[in-house]
């Protein structure tokens, strides 16, 4: 039946168009280091997509390291337009963000009452013109919600950062797959003060890129630049073996 085949071909073309790489603005947020940028499609974190960041261990509940990392990451964007941070628990401390060089006084903070509300606000904010980045704290994003977030990102050309965070004492949520463009796992790493100095050095993170559409995964040790006006917020200290993080975590939890 020719008509049926024509229809099938049309449907296939539609599916192919939907499944292809997200039609983003093409703009990327570069890390400024070939070791990281080389793994990401387009040479940096694609804007007009949403990215997932999670901690590990207790950090899944507090989400402090992902928040600090994301704030550093979005620092170059914050000077360009509006930034919205959707919280589930209002423990975000603006002076701390300001200390990382993030213009905290411009940040619009929203505290949602539940997961569904948080996701609805994140989607609405991503859709809004003039909003450059949206940080959202959510327990998990399912495939349908993830797809909705992606469509919202494309429409508003904003970047979304979903910080995985579960309620205190809650059970980890298992989500089947994810529509995120990239998935990162952020853990704090011991800092190194400059020689001859005491106290703590600039914050360091073990940053694992666990999933990357159209790119490759990797893991790095990154440090925030002391100079907050630097073009790129991070200095890549070292590249880590990919497996190191996953093997280490359960041992520590036992101790």
């Amino acid at each position: 039946m020719p008509l049926r085949e024509v229809r099938l071909a049309q449907a296939r073309a539609q599916i192919a168009a939907l499944a292809s790489a997200p039609a983003s603005s093409g703009e990327v947020l570069a890390f400024g280091d070939a070791r990281v940028d080389g793994r990401l499609p387009g040479g940096g974190l694609t804007l007009g997509c949403w990215h997932e960041l999670a901690g590990e261990g207790l950090e899944l509940e507090t989400a402090a390291a992902p928040a600090a990392f994301a704030a550093c990451l979005a620092r170059p964007m914050a000077r360009r337009g509006e930034i919205v941070w959707v919280l589930r628990r209002d423990d975000l401390y603006a002076p701390g963000l300001a200390g990382l060089g993030f213009p905290a006084e411009r940040l619009i903070q929203v505290c949602a009452r539940d997961e569904a509300e948080a996701l609805a606000v994140i989607e609405d904010a991503l859709r809004t013109p003039g909003v450059w980045a949206v940080f959202g704290e959510a327990e998990g994003v399912g495939l349908v919600e993830g797809r909705r977030l992606q469509l919202a990102c494309e429409r508003g050309s904003a970047a979304g950062f979903i910080l995985r965070r579960r309620p205190y004492g809650g059970r980890p949520l298992r989500t089947a797959g994810s529509a995120a463009a990239t998935r990162w796992r952020i853990a704090a790493a011991p800092s190194e003060p400059a020689p001859g100095e005491t106290g703590l050095g600039p914050p360091r993170w073990r940053v694992a890129l666990e999933r990357c559409r159209g790119g490759r995964t990797g893991a790095w040790l990154m440090e925030a630049w002391e100079d907050q006006d630097a073009a790129h917020p991070f200095r890549v200290v070292a590249e880590l073996a990919d497996r190191g993080l996953a093997a280490e975590a359960p041992l520590r939890r036992a101790g």
């Binding site: 975000l92 940040l107 903070q109 929203v110």
Partner: protein, 481 residues
């Protein structure tokens, strides 16, 4: 046949009639009579206890109902209502038609009422209570229409009224004929003021339930409506109506209150707020849309009113070459904040602003997103955590040397060895906020920034000093991430 009915209230230990209905008054009963006398005269009298608080609540409810006639309604306890109908009567085709409509509806609802329209509140009061029912007096003829009304219509205190009665002054016209200076000397300034107010010669401040506003729109329907899509259309139409007027006068409003008036006299109220004053109807209608679902139309809705509040001048926005590519807040972030604030509540959307205080909890204030920014910048010199726990959590810490950071501590059941530490940063209580003599050294906090072996960075503090009355305690206050 209906039994005579009266309300009874205890007045200094004596139960007296508080109010009597028409049937009871026809039998010679009057308010203020002793209840025992009244029952002796009219044995079949039905009585109930008076409930002044309930009366006041009912009067306020009636005032809210009257908003369909005019946004400015002032209750006049115990049993009166003032409506400022300036600029609203034309919607009914005149003051008489409006008064008839109001009183007919009240009668249909079983509320016996009398009414009058006059140029001053005092004259309207006098005419409604002592004149012909449904009198409409033109502005300027107050003196003429009130001349033959009793002086009791002037809202005087009991002593003044008794004094007038003693002197045989029973009509307002007789008072007007007297010389003013004599009147003031004999009866006091209050009597003169009330007289002037009745005649429209002195202004009178009425306590309106809501301030009178010219930003008011009304739609009435020939047939009652109740379908959700009709409500949506009405919300759109009435908003467009008011927004056109706002635009014509170069103004915008920060809050819109929509009321659907039902056939049974109740009204359903919806209200939306804007973070930036606006007058474009489409976004406002979109804010109303989710609220419309909760409207219960009852047996039908016969009128809708919309009031704009926080009206202020709003300049027409101009697109210049510099701003061509940018998105103005009115188009992007403004409506977003309105949607969030109306759905989650205004307290759930904020912008943090620095506040001059060294107490960490107090160093941040929340401000509405578009509030003008205060001067002042963050204190970036001292390390502050990204997450500040709402209340510090107690930790078990081992610090071998006083005034040194701990070498390990236990938080949430997990032992953490301190690898590096910074501090202390001593934060004392803000003694100037406390009453004198209430400050104590136990409120001193020594903050340390510590890093454990995994690299996690914490903000911990020790409350109190070594060698004090109580041993110092350790707390975890924030996470640097």
């Amino acid at each position: 046949m209906q039994l005579p009915f009266a309300l009874i209230a205890a007045d200094r230990g004596v139960r007296r009639l508080y109010a009597a209905d028409a049937a009871a008054q026809a039998l010679g009963l009057y308010p203020g009579q002793k209840a025992t006398d009244a029952v002796a005269l009219v044995p079949e009298l039905a009585t109930a206890d008076a409930d002044p608080a309930g009366d006041l609540a009912a009067l306020n409810a009636l005032a809210d109902w009257c908003v369909r006639f005019s946004p400015a309604v002032a209750p006049d306890p115990p049993d009166g209502l003032f409506l400022d109908i300036t600029g609203a009567a034309h919607l009914w085709g005149g003051e008489r038609a409006m008064l008839d409509d109001l009183l007919d509806r009240l009668a249909a609802a079983g509320v016996p009422a009398r009414g009058a329209v006059a140029g001053s509140a005092g004259a309207a009061f006098a005419l409604a209570r002592f004149g012909m029912d449904r009198t409409v007096a033109e502005t300027g003829e107050e003196a003429a229409v009130t001349a033959f009304l009793p002086t009791a219509a002037l809202r005087l205190g009991p002593e003044d009224a008794a004094q007038l009665a003693r002197l045989g002054l029973s009509r307002i016209g007789q008072l007007v004929a007297l010389p003013r200076d004599q009147l003031a000397r004999r009866f006091g300034a209050q009597t003169l003021l009330r007289l002037d107010q009745a005649l429209g010669r002195a202004p009178e401040a009425l306590a309106f339930r809501r301030p009178p506003t010219p930003w008011f729109a009304r739609l009435a329907f020939a047939e009652p409506i109740s379908a959700p899509e009709d409500l949506g259309r009405v919300a759109g139409d009435i908003t467009a109506l008011l927004c056109r007027r706002l635009e014509a006068e170069g103004r915008g409003a920060g809050r819109f209150e929509l009321a659907f008036h039902r056939l049974d006299g109740r009204s359903e109220r919806l209200s939306v707020g804007l973070s930036l004053p606006g007058r474009r109807s489409a976004p406002i209608v979109r804010l109303f849309a989710p609220l419309l679902e909760k409207v219960d139309p009852g047996f039908g809705i016969e009128a809708a009113t919309l009031v704009a509040e926080r009206v202020e001048p709003l300049a027409e926005r101009q697109t210049s070459l510099e701003t061509l590519g940018e998105i103005a807040p009115e188009d992007g972030i403004g409506p977003l904040i309105d949607r969030i604030a109306n759905r989650l509540g205004e307290a759930r959307v904020w912008r943090a602003e620095p506040f001059a205080s060294h107490i960490p909890e107090r160093a941040v204030v929340r401000r509405p997103p578009f509030a003008p920014r205060a001067a002042g910048d963050w204190d970036r010199g001292r390390p502050r955590p990204v997450r500040l726990l709402r209340r510090p959590e107690p930790i078990e810490a081992a610090a071998p040397i006083p005034d040194d950071p701990p070498i390990f501590f236990r938080w949430r059941g997990q032992l953490r060895r301190v690898r590096r530490a910074e501090g202390p940063e001593r934060l004392a209580e803000e003694w100037w906020r406390q009453p004198p003599g209430q400050t104590s050294p136990s409120e001193v906090r020594d903050y340390y920034r510590v890093e454990d072996e995994t690299g996690a960075r914490y903000w911990i503090f020790r409350a109190g000093l070594y060698g004090g009355a109580a041993p110092p305690k350790w707390w975890l206050h924030g996470l640097f991430g």
